[in-house]
Symmetry: C2
Subunit: 194 residues, 2 copies
DNA sequence: AAAGAAGGTTAAACTAGTTTAATCTAAGTC
DNA sequence: GACTTAGATTAAACTAGTTTAACCTTCTTT
């Protein structure tokens, strides 16, 4: 059974009966992507919500001036999608690209809506997941206003040491809302300080 | 029945049976606050999630340097709380203060957990509400990085014309992540442009 | 009507972070 | 082993937004 990592993850939040696990399995699909491939492309409708089994992805947005803004990273046991696009099945604002070869478990929109009806516990599960996601997003917003770039970088390193190792610096810079040149300067300062 | 505004709002997302409405009523309480009063104070545990029936509130955070950062505003038909604090029943990072005399419908933490068990539709309801809140929060974050202060201000005016009328400018400035002086400058520019 | 509060404006000096552009490094690939 | 390509660094000139400080406006209170 290939959805074991997802079920293990879900069991942390809700208790699932064997028959529920079976229904969940019928409503998901597995997919492998190569490094560089896109799970979602800006302008297309986001067809799936993906649970990362293995690999690393980046969600980013290219603005009118052509600048890239990294919205989030996702590694093992994280969820990724352009949620706004997925929920309303309208064109995506964001791109989701694999930074490594990546294995995901996916829910299509109709399958997920169906699953909510057949396994009401899924409502509870996603309610809990979304609460956490919302709180995290709000905290990040507050930090973006109340901390300097250097403080945000230190916080990022502390919160996501595993991600820092796996992604290029210019993506971290755009996640922090600064240029790669300025991140480079900050890093240099930090080395000199010690 | 005093929870009519809440029920009307909920019916937009889920269909409620009369007996469910009754259970919901038993798990909520009504409360009136005067202008200036605090619904949540930084450092205290946030005991309630509040649905605004009438009035206007601001969620803000005072950082170590003593600076205020406005996290959100809430008016009629919005929800407010320090959700992170409410969910984990740990000290709040934020203050929620009434900017006008305000009437809310509140769920305590235990009542809400109870209600989830008695009326499973509540899970669905909050799942949907949280999806929207998360998407909105993510969009605001992207804007904070990709737009200039002036662009953010114009967007705010466009998105929340009702709020703009009701709250002082220095709070809008801190919501936009800029100083009141700079907002004043932007407003002056906008007048000159026309 | 005088006196505070609370909010808003203006302007000069300043700084955190950007822009531009050149150089460096390392890894793949022909 | 030379040649792209992708990423990282450095530094000088610049700018969006901050800081400080003084002043203005309006409403509330007495």
């Amino acid at each position: 059974m290939d959805i074991v990592p997802l079920i293990d993850y879900m069991q942390k939040f809700v208790e699932l009966e064997p028959q529920e696990v079976e229904i969940i399995q019928k409503h998901t699909s597995l997919r492998n992507y190569l490094k560089g491939q896109f799970v979602v492309q800006q302008g297309d409708v986001c067809r799936h919500e993906s649970f990362v089994v293995e690999g690393c992805l980046r969600t980013f947005y290219v603005d009118e001036k052509g600048q890239e803004h990294t919205v989030m990273f996702a590694i093992e046991n994280w969820w990724t999608a352009d949620l706004g696009s997925f929920l309303t099945q309208t064109p995506a604002h964001y791109n989701v690209q694999c930074l490594e070869n990546t294995k995901v478990i996916q829910f299509s929109h109709t399958n997920l809506e169906n699953l909510y009806l057949q396994v009401p516990k899924m409502e509870r599960f996603f309610r809990i997941i979304l609460q956490r996601a919302y709180v995290a997003s709000e905290r990040r917003l507050v930090r973006s206003y109340s901390l300097t770039a250097k403080e945000r970088y230190l916080k990022f390193r502390q919160d996501y040491p595993l991600i820092e190792q796996r992604v290029p610096q210019y993506m971290i810079a755009s996640y922090l809302g600064i240029t790669k040149e300025f991140l480079s300067k900050i890093r240099n300062q930090l080395i000199l300080e010690q």
